[in-house]
């Protein structure tokens, strides 16, 4: 037993030290920093100026932060419905015994292994380009000149174009999670349903979906985390500007106020930290609410 305790200590200590240094310390520092005005993010603590909760109050009153939160909410809600439904649909089809399952699965998953910068460059230059992009060429080909001239990268369509591109790249990841969830459902359940006369669609809605509650909860949490950390896509859509109304998200705003966009722009690492704290709270709230609403242990297989 003593030997075992020593072994546990030996194996756990490095991981624990790593966790404290790499996760716990930055979290604590960020929470504390959010209560101060900090000119440069690496300023020594002695230079920090205590401002209490005023960073949070400023955030609540800042129009552009509110816009960023609304953008994030729209991505989470509209994008979430799109991504999770399409992923679930694909997962349902691919686990139904379709021929070439592995090929389709690989094709749908491919966007996930391509860097976000490369993916967004592809969408911006080869799909949305209003001179030679795929959509422009397609609408020109069918003679819809009005649609061919649509500007997907400016004005009201910019957010929509960003959302579609981001969702396209996200489907494969969630499809794999759903597929693994579906494959865990015992085959005899479906067999019994088939014998009872239930078709594939009925089985999907009455057996597959209810038994995927736990998987759905996992997907929703992962989706929330990825949307809260929405950064690169937004930056690519705004380039060469630092950010703009239609695509700004809280993390972009955090980056702007922490590092400054111009030489003479006032920076405040404390305000950036406050954004980080708010975002962490958002994830926790979603995690808590989803945990309360979706119980995954009410069905036993």
């Amino acid at each position: 037993m003593k030997q075992n305790k020593k072994m546990i200590v030996c194996f756990l200590t490095p991981a624990l030290i790593f966790f404290v240094a790499a996760f716990l310390y930055p979290i604590c520092r960020t929470v504390v920093m959010s209560l101060f005005k900090v000119e440069s993010i690496s300023d020594p603590v002695g230079l920090w100026e205590f401002v209490g909760l005023s960073n949070f109050a400023d955030l609540a009153e800042t129009t552009i932060f509110q816009v960023a939160m609304i953008n994030m909410l729209k991505i989470w809600l509209i994008g979430g419905i799109l991504v999770l439904s399409v992923a679930l649909l694909f997962a349902g089809i691919l686990t139904s015994g379709i021929v070439g399952k592995n090929v389709y699965r690989a094709i749908i998953y491919v966007p996930n292994i391509i860097n976000a910068v490369a993916m967004s460059t592809m969408w911006i230059n080869y799909v949305y380009n209003k001179r030679f992009g795929l959509l422009h060429n397609f609408f020109t080909w069918i003679g819809a000149d009005g649609l061919a001239k649509l500007d997907y990268m400016n004005g009201s369509l910019k957010f929509v174009s960003l959302l579609i591109a981001f969702c396209f790249g996200s489907v494969g990841y969630f499809m794999l999670i759903f597929m693994s969830g579906i494959e865990q459902i015992p085959g005899d359940v479906f067999e019994a349903a088939t014998i009872d006369g239930a078709g594939k669609i009925k089985q999907f809605f009455t057996i597959t979906c209810p038994l995927l509650k736990g998987t759905f909860k996992t997907c929703l949490t992962f989706w929330t985390v990825s949307v809260v950390g929405f950064f690169v896509w937004s930056q690519m859509w705004s380039a060469p500007l630092a950010s703009e109304m239609s695509t700004i998200t809280p993390f972009i705003y955090m980056y702007n106020v922490t590092f400054g966009t111009m030489g003479n722009v006032e920076r405040n690492g404390g305000l950036g930290a406050a954004v980080g704290v708010v975002m962490a709270l958002v994830v926790l709230v979603v995690f808590f609410v989803v945990g309360r609403l979706v119980k995954d242990d009410d069905l036993e297989l």
Binding site: S40, V67, N129, L241, N256, V257, N264
Partner: protein
């Protein structure tokens, strides 16, 4: 038995691979080390001081500026025996350098936008006033840049500006000629006349990238009221009480409404600017790096002309006022080789290497004694030398991190003709 055999085979293969890769790694390292050593000796010639300076660069190693700096560093090493270890950080340096220096990273000098260098990183930088005086450095640099640097550092000289830029309207001279335009416009009304002439010659008179709308509006408003009033209006969101805010918005809208701007403008970067290289549009308001960018992007060899953004009736500013800026080198206060770094940087920002850099990327030379400007930007030379007033980038319209996106969004709506001048002012006032 089979399993044992398989396991032994795998172990054997693994061991052989490890040994071979280990040997290979060693020999590679030695070879590289040997090469590096011989290269160093070759570069150092007969001198080897044993000193080494570290430079964090805002450039990527493939850029024209980087190649000239690398060449200057090798020449400096050959002459002094001091090796310069260059780390090409690219534009991310603006977020990296502060934390790195606070963490004790051994950096002797670095570069970034000169305003960012002095205003955000000034606390890390050495005052170069004495070294500059001893080397008679200031006579080489445009006074207006030095004045800015000193103003931002309470009179101290903490940056060595280089690669200055100016802004104005860049145009294709051949298109002007074809349209019968003899003189460049000096007032906004004349600009509209030129646009009309160009339009009749079947080209888009102007174009712009979507990020250029703040420049257009910033210039126009500043021509009416000057930069200080623009900043005051912006800070107080006092648009409703500044009649010129509406006038400037109406003026810019006119360019789009009358079809003087390309139908694609404001286009996503760099599609708008590339229209000039493709022979579709004639003029663009932008910085002096734009001719080179367009030529590089499109493979065109445009014969470039330049004129400052025109003045307006009843306005306070004219061609004497322009958005200018530069990059800047700063030497870290904690460096033990400050004088050596200054001596090296002097060779980069003045004399032959400054000329080489200007030629390499078609930019303005930073040394005023380098009188030969690259052909594509030479049109700006007379105006640049007579300029007495500097504007910030976009006349400061992009300064406010909590407001600039709102302004930008409404400017896009204005240029898409979704807002008129009055509704632009109303929306901006309401967004306070």
């Amino acid at each position: 038995m089979k399993r044992k055999l398989l396991a032994m085979t795998l172990v054997g293969i693994t061991a052989t691979t490890m040994i071979m890769s280990g040997c290979g790694g060693n020999s590679d390292t030695k070879e590289e080390g040997g090469n590096e050593g011989s290269k160093k000796e070759e570069a150092a010639g007969e001198k080897d001081s044993g000193k080494e300076m570290t430079y964090w660069s805002m450039w990527n190693s493939t850029e024209g500026q980087a190649k000239v700096i690398q060449e200057a560093a090798e020449a400096y090493e050959k002459e002094t025996g001091i090796h310069i270890n260059i780390e090409w950080k690219g534009r991310d340096i603006k977020t990296l350098i502060g934390p790195a220096l606070d963490a004790g990273e051994d950096v002797d000098f670095f570069d970034t936008d000169y305003m960012m260098l002095t205003q955000q990183n000034g606390k890390y930088l050495a005052d170069l006033t004495d070294m500059a005086a001893a080397a008679d450095y200031e006579k080489h640099i445009m006074p207006i840049l030095l004045d800015n640097v000193k103003e931002w550092s309470d009179g101290a000289l903490k940056a060595m500006p280089y690669q200055p830029y100016t802004t104005g309207v860049w145009y294709d001279k051949a298109m002007f000629e074809k349209a019968g335009v003899k003189e460049t416009p000096e007032t906004f009304d004349e600009l509209l006349e030129v646009c009309e002439q160009l339009k009749k010659s079947s080209v888009n008179p102007m174009t712009c990238n979507s990020d250029g709308v703040t420049l257009l509006y910033g210039y126009q408003l500043a021509r009416y009221v000057g930069q200080d009033k623009v900043l005051e209006t912006l800070d107080n969101a006092d648009w409703a009480n500044v009649p010129e805010a509406k006038k400037a918005a109406d003026d810019i809208r006119t360019l789009f409404d009358k079809g003087y701007m390309s139908e694609y403008a404001p286009a996503n970067y760099p599609e708008g600017q590339n229209e000039i290289g493709f022979g579709e549009s004639c003029m663009i308001l932008n910085a002096s790096w734009i001719p080179n960018e367009i030529n590089q992007n499109t493979g065109a060899t445009v014969d470039w002309g330049f004129f400052p953004w025109p003045s307006v009736e009843g306005g306070v500013d004219g061609p004497e006022a322009s958005m200018v800026g530069s990059q800047g080198f700063g030497i870290v206060e904690k460096s033990e080789y400050k004088q050596e770094a200054f001596d090296f940087l002097l060779t980069v920002v003045t004399g032959d290497y400054d000329s080489k850099m200007a030629e390499a990327v078609a930019s303005i030379p930073s040394d005023v004694e380098n009188t030969k400007w690259p052909e594509s930007v030479s049109g700006a030379e007379p105006y640049f030398k007579e300029m007495t007033k500097t504007y910030q980038w976009a006349v400061g319209l992009e300064n406010n991190p909590t407001y600039k996106e709102i302004l930008y969004d409404n400017l896009i709506k204005l240029t898409k003709l979704e807002l008129d001048g009055q509704s632009f002012v109303d929306t901006m006032t309401a967004a306070k």
